[in-house]
């Protein structure tokens, strides 16, 4: 069992006592607090006149909703009494599109799911198709190492953005600029690796679109050193920042039971104290050969989720270092030309390769009938692909289980009882992306 590899000690060992409240209790407490705390009222203010509840429409184009999330809030003064998230503004019908094209043709669409970590989506999707084909254990070692590096770079990139915008939403503009400087370097690495900064489409079924370019390993090593400094600096800006701590500690605490019941995954689940990381519990690629810890929170509030992401970035850098050190040589694609396109010069000179190329491109890879579900530990949580195949080159049904969609479904439970201004902190700490939520 992989569980003995869990870290026994981590930097967040200090457990804070916290009482988890149901929304109704929280609401009553918040009201009582306001009534009995005259210092919170403006001086000379008249006692509150009971008034009707106000319905406030937040989003879909609000800077704190990170895209096009809309929340209809019912307010009693400044306290939220009811929250109704409204998603779907970025729905493009990716699942419908997938039914109408070959497995390979869908890879670029996965870039547009979690567009803050396209490399991780690419890896997740091709692993799902490879599981269907039954070749997920036959990938060349070099391919597996490069894919792990891709996934971890994507995690760093996504968390840097998540932290930056979270901090900006609660008032710390500097952090955003600081993390974006570092994120730019990830984009540079992506560019030299894939040819694109944003829409990478790097992986292929059974391998990768290309091998590492010359000098990339050194470039990545340099980045690893630089980003560690940046992470430390970011932490000094936030972890003991009075304003940041006041706005995040004790806000939107999600209990372990609620987190599991609402199906939260990724940092949001671990922030609530559930030790679950797919890289440890169901190791894919070469994660079982790597040494890394999985941080776990204790109270499940916004501050814990922040701390957790910071630590996850450090662990990702640790994984990157190990991959760069151990990176084997050899091919990056499986040898089967019925799955991976054969080399061009052979296509143009040999009959068999020409046929394989033609069939692969026009009809797609011939997948067996069956169904698989593959879950990948994406930066935002568990990104799952359920593929139902009836044989042939296209999926009969492809379902994307997106972490952001599921993570957002807890909002109606979490938001009531909080102040209006807490919403931005809560949304920032849940770290969602609408491209993936709406698909």
């Amino acid at each position: 069992m992989a569980l003995d590899r869990w870290s026994q000690s981590n930097s967040m060992a200090e457990v804070r006592e916290f009482e988890f409240k149901e929304p109704a209790t929280r609401l009553a407490d918040a009201r009582r607090m306001l009534e009995h705390a005259p210092e919170l009222q403006p001086s000379g203010a008249q006692p509150d006149i009971p008034a009707d509840k106000m319905v406030l429409n937040m989003g879909p184009s609000h800077p704190a909703t990170h895209g096009v999330l809309r929340i209809v809030l019912e307010l009693d003064g400044e306290i939220i009494t009811k929250a109704m998230p409204d998603v779907g503004y970025l729905h493009r019908g990716d699942e419908k599109i997938a039914e109408n094209m070959t497995y390979t043709q869908f890879i670029p669409y996965t870039d547009r799911l979690d567009y803050l970590a396209p490399l991780a989506n690419n890896v997740a999707y091709v692993l799902a198709v490879e599981k269907l084909l039954g070749i997920d254990r036959q990938l060349p070692p070099r391919c597996q190492f490069i894919r792990v590096m891709c996934a971890e770079l994507a995690r760093i990139s996504s968390h840097l953005l998540g932290l930056g915008s979270f901090a900006m939403d609660v008032g710390a503009m500097t952090v955003f600029l600081h993390t974006f400087t570092e994120r730019e370097k990830v984009y540079n690495l992506c560019e030299s690796l894939t040819g694109a900064r944003f829409t990478t489409s790097y992986t292929r079924i059974g391998g990768l679109s290309r091998d590492l370019p010359p000098g990339w390993v050194e470039q990545c090593r340099k980045f690893c050193d630089e980003v560690m400094v940046n992470i430390d600096e970011t932490e000094t800006l936030l972890s003991r920042n009075r304003i940041f701590v006041d706005r995040t500690q004790g806000v939107a605490a999600i209990s372990k039971e609620d987190a599991m019941d609402y199906g939260l995954t990724g940092p949001n689940l671990r922030g609530s104290g559930v030790q679950h990381d797919l890289r440890k519990t169901h190791p894919y690629l070469i994660y079982d050969q790597l040494d890394f810890d999985v941080p776990v929170g204790s109270t499940g509030d916004c501050y814990d989720r922040y701390l957790l992401r910071v630590e996850e970035m450090r662990q990702s850098v640790r994984i990157l270092h190990q991959c760069l050190d151990k990176l084997p040589s050899g091919p990056v694609n499986v040898a089967d030309t019925k799955i991976v396109l054969p080399p061009k010069e052979r296509v143009l000179t040999r009959m068999e390769e020409l046929i394989h190329h033609f069939i692969n491109v026009t009809q797609g890879i011939n997948a067996p009938p069956g169904e698989v579900y593959f879950a990948h530990e994406n930066p935002k949580g568990e990104l799952g692909f359920y593929i139902n195949s009836k044989g042939g080159g296209t999926p009969y049904r492809l379902k994307i289980r997106s972490p952001s969609f599921v993570n957002l479904s807890i909002l109606p439970h979490v938001l009531p009882g909080h102040m209006m201004s807490d919403v931005v902190a809560i949304l920032g700490s849940l770290d969602f992306v609408m491209g993936e939520c709406d698909r």
Partner: protein
Amino acid sequence: MAAIDLARQLKEKFGELLSEPQEFRSEITMRVGDPERIEEVCLFAKQSLGFDYLTDITSIDNYGDDPRFTLVYHLYGYGHLCPLRLKTDVSEAKSELPSVTKVWRTADWHEREIYDMMGIRFAGHGDLRRILMWDGYPYFPLRKEFPLAGRPSDLPEVAFTSAAPMAGGPFVTIAGGKDTISREPRVRIPDADSLGMNARVQRRQDIKQSHGRAHGPGPVEPK
């Protein structure tokens, strides 16, 4: 404990209601014979077998077959780390089965999405509204007979009201065919197209009529 043992325990409890566990790519799948009892099976799986996390619910449209819809539940337990897949069939005439929101609260949005995309209703859900499409949208877009290009809806200037920029063009594949050959625009014969309601076919003809030519060489005429 392995997933197969848990599947056997479930089978022991419910007997004929469940099929024998099937294994494919080391994933265990069981069919629930009666969709009306899915909530009962799920509740037992959660309370007695430790499946405390519902990963996902999804639906499949077996267009042309009866029963038409298949619901797929992905269960997982944080205690034993085993996944299990449950499947159950729902006929088009009924299009309804019990909700599992009372077992796992995460089922709420998944069931709303299935209702939104395929039109399957969940009894006892409480808040079964559309989630990705807007309220009042008249179609269920993930059903197989719904064309990829979309259909006009009564909201003008919203999605699906005008042709895509390259629609009917020589490099745009045609939605809904069985294989890539039938979707390939240059070899397709419109009359032989199994999905006659395909909006792009119509659009291509419209373009041809209005401009005197379609983009590219146009469809091959049937002999």
